[in-house]
């Protein structure tokens, strides 16, 4: 997989071609793909329980192999997700410690930690929304991307932790009180509903479905952002990289056909399944 992702497409047209800059490393792209697939798997196999009284829930459960089949899919996807999360946390720790760049991880433009600039960006973006300000320019991570990241991070701890309690209740009850399992069952479902509702609407809109990106932004699958796009939306980052003289080191080749194909097909399927899930959820609320 990593080999395929590292294959570079031949630069088309020589010097006149679009320049590309590295945004995600190959391992980050693999982790996102696995996270995405396991998330969709957990969502589809878990939703029938939350909406067990709706006719579509029984149908969906039956499609996934009944209560045993859906349960197995849910646990396999949960395992993949836990591995993805653990790998990510290990990578972040590794990056912070081994290269001595702990400050870059905790603060600054390459950090996911919310900073005062994010609050300013929210304010400026709303001003632009209502037509009283220019469209703001962003650095590497926008505030909505940071929210996505921390929402998933928090969700991993809450849903993953409660999920493990519910997966092995007899073991955990050896040292945890019974009411913990009541709360675990509650927050597992509610937080999952939040995650599913958030990812399949706001993340899809922010990242893919809004007019500027429609129908899909494949950057997370190709790992590469075009110079045009960076200048258009992330001018702060572009200017900073130029100023720091890092633009050349971050420059990379055009996205490979395989990574674009993977993005369109697998990402498209995930988008479609997510939208189906949202339609089912929304239809059940009324």
């Amino acid at each position: 997989m990593a080999i395929a992702l590292n294959q570079e497409a031949p630069a088309a047209g020589g010097g006149a071609a679009q320049r590309y800059y590295r945004r995600f490393t190959p391992i980050e792209r693999v982790l996102h793909a696995l996270l995405m697939l396991s998330f969709v798997g957990c969502a589809l196999s878990g939703l029938p329980l939350i909406f067990a009284d709706k006719p579509w829930a029984a149908t969906l459960a039956r499609i996934l192999g009944g209560f045993e089949g859906a349960g197995l899919i849910h646990r396999i996807c949960a395992f993949v997700m836990i591995v993805v999360f653990a790998t990510h946390v290990a990578l972040v720790f590794g990056r912070a410690l081994s290269r001595g760049r702990i400050m870059a991880v905790l603060w600054g433009p390459d950090s996911m930690v919310p900073q005062p600039q994010d609050v300013i960006d929210v304010y400026r973006n709303f001003k632009w929304f209502v037509g009283v300000g220019p469209r703001p320019q962003f650095d590497r991570w926008t505030y909505w991307e940071k929210f996505d990241y921390w929402a998933v991070f928090w969700g991993m701890l809450i849903i993953g932790g409660s999920g493990l309690l519910l997966w092995f209740p007899v073991f955990f009850a050896k040292f945890l009180p019974g009411w913990i399992f009541n709360i675990a069952a509650l927050v597992h479902g509610e937080e999952a509903l939040l995650a599913v509702g958030f990812i399949f609407t706001f993340h899809f809109f922010n990242g893919h479905l809004r007019p500027a990106k429609f129908p899909m932004d494949t950057v997370v699958f190709t790992g590469r952002i075009s110079e045009h796009e960076m200048k258009d939306e992330r001018r702060v980052q572009f200017d900073r990289l130029t100023r720091e003289g890092r633009l050349a080191t971050d420059e990379t080749t055009a996205p490979s056909e395989e990574s674009k194909w993977f993005g369109w097909v697998v990402g498209g399927v995930a988008l479609a399944l997510g939208i189906v899930a949202i339609v089912l959820i929304v239809s059940s609320l009324f």
Partner: protein, 420 residues
């Protein structure tokens, strides 16, 4: 033309008389009963018709093999308004009075649901002959009797299994014949245990059949446990010891009896998935709050999806001998709860058994931590969806305007860059 038709009719009449005349000596030879020969001169003809065109034929052989034929009864014993001295008899005879001989049975019948309905003018209601037959009545012990144990279901279903008759006579319970046919009792009647499986009359009685609203009915609310208990002894004993049985003994007939959970005619195998899933909502008829909190748990969600391999009400509370948690004998009492959990969750600990399978997110007193956790989750969900809902709507509006709106200057990339 007319002459030819008349001739043909006369020939046909002669032929039929000849044909009818031939078997007569044979019929007379079977049970050999003189007085009935006179009647059979006319009624022995299988094509014999009355003035209105209805068949008035009597199968002499069939009558001969009936219980009355075997006793060498004369036709006039039942049709007492006919006399061999005054033939032909009146076109319309009086209804036969079975009570001449069967006085006790007829007196009993008068008090049954059928007898009362008939007295009230419902002509669809069954009389003696609807169940027993007419000239072909057999003893119930005869295998081909309408009232033989094996045939009762079919006999009752003539009316109670016919949508047409049910509608016509406004029969209570609707088409219970087909419901019963597919029930565990109905299936057993067709299997190896057919001799001991109950049929309609085992629960309803025959000449004692009464509307379930009557106190004396075997199927009245009060009498159902005893009726079912006549076969299901251990279950009825357990039931009477349980909360529901005790409530009924104290006169609270709203408490459920056998048929409230098992149904009456459509009873299913108790350990079938279908029944296990269906009976849950019966408990919810009275215990609504508990059904609702059960549905919030994994147990209740899985069973709601139609999979029975998960705890139902009865898995924890028991079935016939259900008792309140305050009773030490209850399966969910403090003393027995752990053992009940362990029935499915091998190795479960005391902590495990302190899980609340009916935690209520709205009940602060019962589950304070759960209550606040639910409140927190509600606020979190509301907050996130409200903020990003507004954020997204504004953003969408702005991007659509910038991408498709009027006033786009030349050289605009169309990517939403605002020119200022």
């Amino acid at each position: 033309m007319i002459l030819a038709r008349s001739l043909a009719a006369i020939c046909a009449l002669l032929a039929s008389v000849l044909v009818a005349a031939q078997p007569a000596p044979m019929a007379a030879a079977a049970p050999a009963s003189g007085p009935n020969d006179t009647c059979l001169m006319c009624h022995g003809d299988k094509d014999a018709k009355g003035a209105a065109g209805q068949s008035i034929a009597v199968d002499a052989a069939q009558f001969g093999s009936s219980v009355h034929g075997g006793l060498a009864l004369k036709c006039t014993d039942c049709h007492s308004d006919v006399s061999a001295q005054k033939l032909p008899h009146a076109e319309k005879l009086k209804p036969v009075n079975c009570g001449t001989c069967h006085a006790k049975a007829v007196a009993e019948y008068a008090g049954t649901v059928h007898g009362l309905a008939r007295k009230g003018g419902n002509t669809v209601a069954a009389s003696c002959t609807d169940c027993h037959g007419k000239h072909d009545i057999k003893r119930s012990k005869d295998a081909d009797s309408r009232t033989n144990h094996a045939n009762i279901e079919a006999t009752c279903s003539t009316c109670h299994g016919s949508d047409k008759v049910v509608a016509q006579g406004k029969l209570p319970g609707g088409n219970v014949g087909s419901t019963f046919h597919d029930s565990i009792h109905g299936k057993a009647l067709k299997g190896a245990a057919q001799g001991s499986a109950p049929t309609c009359t085992n629960c309803h009685g025959a000449h004692s059949i009464r509307a379930k609203g009557e106190a004396a009915s075997r199927t009245s609310r009060a009498n159902i446990p005893e009726t079912c208990g006549s076969c299901h002894k251990p279950e009825s004993v357990a039931f009477l010891k349980g909360s529901h049985g005790k409530l009924r003994q104290d006169g609270n007939m709203a408490a459920p009896g056998c048929t409230d959970c098992h149904s009456a005619h459509g009873i299913q195998q108790h350990d079938s998935d279908k029944f296990q899933i269906a009976v849950i909502k019966e408990c919810g008829t009275c215990h609504q709050d508990y059904l609702s909190t059960y549905r919030d748990t994994f147990h209740g969600q899985v069973t709601a999806l139609g999979y029975a391999r998960m705890a139902t009400c009865a898995s924890c509370h028991g079935a016939h001998d259900v008792l309140p948690a305050s009773n030490p004998l209850s399966k969910v009492s403090a003393q027995n709860r752990l053992k009940t959990c362990q029935a499915c969750h091998a190795g479960a600990s005391e902590n495990f058994a302190s899980f609340d399978p009916h935690a209520n997110r709205h009940d602060k007193a019962r589950n304070p931590l759960y209550y606040y956790a639910a409140l927190f989750m509600e606020l979190l969900l509301f907050g996130v969806f409200a903020f990003f809902g507004i954020h997204t709507l504004f953003w969408f509006y702005r991007e659509v305007r910038e991408k498709f709106g009027r006033g786009r200057g030349p050289g605009d990339t169309g990517n939403g860059r605002e020119k200022h």
